[in-house]
Symmetry: C2
Subunit: 353 residues, 2 copies
């Protein structure tokens, strides 16, 4: 079992748990022989779902827990008090090394707080961002940060730029990824105080390919590989992406049903329309890892179905093999050694504003 | 000429000036006999464009100016130094009462700064927001603020909620408009510090129908009539709306050209697809007024073509007849009289956080 990737999966997390989560875990096992799954959650519920499928029983184990962290719970309180929950148990397995990764579709806030409290931030990391891939005309971009840690400082954004660059290089194989900061105009003097403070720091940050501001309008066109913003703005972007996409598709479909002519047309274009819909469906890109932790924690959509759970589990192979968090720690340490002088200068420049 | 609406139009503002601006002005004159247009800008350039059209010469006058404020100029400096620019001249005409309104497709920052410096904020107004209408599945919503004044305070957002409500009631005829604040989750404890501070204040604000948080995902579905946010977030929302929409439509069109089958389908669905594209094209909703000034200033898209310029000029009739800024002043005064006690309470609650 030496080259097995052991993934703890939160069987109780998300809108469609445990049904779709268990199904997704089974599909992941079937898709790749190197996957071993621990399902954390209520034993009877999980067994009931598992009874529906054929699966390799030597690569799945139930880790019975009694509690469930609900979506609306206050994250810190939930993580601290519900010690026998499927989420806390899964995170502890990563911490102890029993599992290589933890995948959950549960509350973003709780996964984030739990990741930091139970798995721990890696050395040198100030904040652990949630960084999903979003679809663009030319491929995908990394939107960093979309987590629950709002009110970021400029130093956080600089680290996000560094972590995001490492991710896009190592996981997505993009050479010299273009980094941009979300802003409301291309001109230097535009932006809120956070952006104005961060801009000069990003310009002086070595080891990243910073290309300046990106307006929200240009994000879907794929003008940057790493899109840096604070979590509030990132959340707005991620959710509006989904919202505009699904509303538009809904309206197009509705429009197509209004006349016989368009109904016939609709049948003919169905395959090509489906491709675009699929491309703009953020759930097809699997989960997003919390970057910069001492272990691998992957958050998937709360509304995940089996396919997304499966993809998120399979992604853990790449994340583990690429040693993404280890690389982040190594590179951050390297950069801070190299750059002590220029980083100090950048900090001073930021504070002067 | 007593019931004429006199609109000063910045003939040099925007990406397509003066050609499209002059064309739009002529179309507005042809569309409505109550419109009188002053075109501010370089006389020869305007005359050259005007020579292309037939138009009622007794309802158009050129106001010759020599300078132009460019998109990339620092707004305050530009407004202060370019006194003979098409923008400064137009704004001064509103201030002096020579014109009832000023319409410009020029730099948002300059229009905003110029509006405040030259026309002036109305009594009781803390900040003058730019509030465009955005398309939704069910109609339109007002996105307030999308201006260039970032880093808003909670008191500003409360006034935006009030002004936006008055606008949607008076101009759009929506009774008891639903007001929501942009947030990253529906739960009470979510949000950045600005949202957390504003939330209790909005709950206690009388005269508005506050329905709580709105996630960006739900904006295109039309869950709220007035969408309150600070200008940075508003800008991101407005521009991403346009970006996702146009990228998606572009990809759908591209997809439709890949096979003979889909090409035939495309011909059949063209009319219904066009309807959706048009609906999601924010430019069809004309310009956005700067609310809460001592006169009417309307900003249209920098990329405006004649149709949008025309719509923006015609909109000035409604804005003027509904006395939108006067109503804002009256209602704000009314509310502050009525609410002195509860507003103090709300302020205290905000400060305690």
């Amino acid at each position: 079992m030496s080259d097995m990737i052991k993934v703890a999966v939160d069987a109780m997390g998300g809108d469609n748990a445990p049904g779709e989560v268990v199904k997704g875990a089974v599909e992941a096992l079937q898709a790749n022989k190197r996957i071993f799954v621990y399902l954390t959650g209520r034993k009877e519920d999980i067994e009931e779902e598992l009874a529906k499928y054929e699966y390799p029983k030597d690569r799945l184990e139930i880790v019975p827990t009694t509690e469930v962290i609900e979506m609306a719970e206050q994250p810190t309180t939930a993580i601290r008090t519900k010690k026998d929950s499927s989420m806390v148990r899964g995170l502890r397995m990563v911490k102890s090394g029993e599992a290589d990764a933890f995948v959950s579709a549960g509350s973003t806030g709780a996964v984030l707080v739990g990741g930091i409290l139970l798995v721990g931030k890696a050395k040198g990391v100030q904040r652990s961002p949630l960084a999903p891939l979003i679809p663009t005309r030319t491929g995908v971009s990394l939107l960093i940060d979309c987590g629950a840690n709002v009110d970021a400082r400029s130093d956080h954004l600089v680290q996000f730029a560094q972590m995001g660059s490492i991710y896009m290089e190592q996981v997505m194989g993009i050479e010299n990824p273009r980094v941009a900061i979300v802003n409301i105009g291309a001109e230097e003097e535009k932006g809120n105080s956070l952006v104005k403070e961060t801009m000069p720091k990003l310009k002086e940050t070595k080891g990243i390919h910073f290309i300046g501001s990106i307006e929200a309008r240009d994000i879907p066109e794929g003008y940057a590989d790493v899109i840096v913003c604070d979590a509030f703005v990132g959340n707005v972007i991620l959710k509006l992406y989904e919202g505009v996409g699904s509303t538009m598709i809904g309206m197009i479909k509705q429009g197509l049903m209004t006349s016989l002519r368009s109904k016939i047309g609709a049948l003919l274009i169905k395959p090509s329309l489906k491709g675009v819909v699929k491309m703009f469906d953020t759930s097809h890109y699997g989960g997003a890892p919390l970057l910069g932790l001492r272990g691998l924690v992957v958050k998937t959509h709360g509304s995940s179905k089996a396919a997304e759970i499966k993809n998120s589990i399979l992604q853990c192979i790449t994340f583990t093999e690429q040693r993404i968090n280890e690389q982040i720690v190594e590179r951050l340490a390297q950069l801070s050694d190299e750059d002590t002088v220029s980083e100090d200068a950048a900090t001073d420049a930021g504070e002067e504003q």
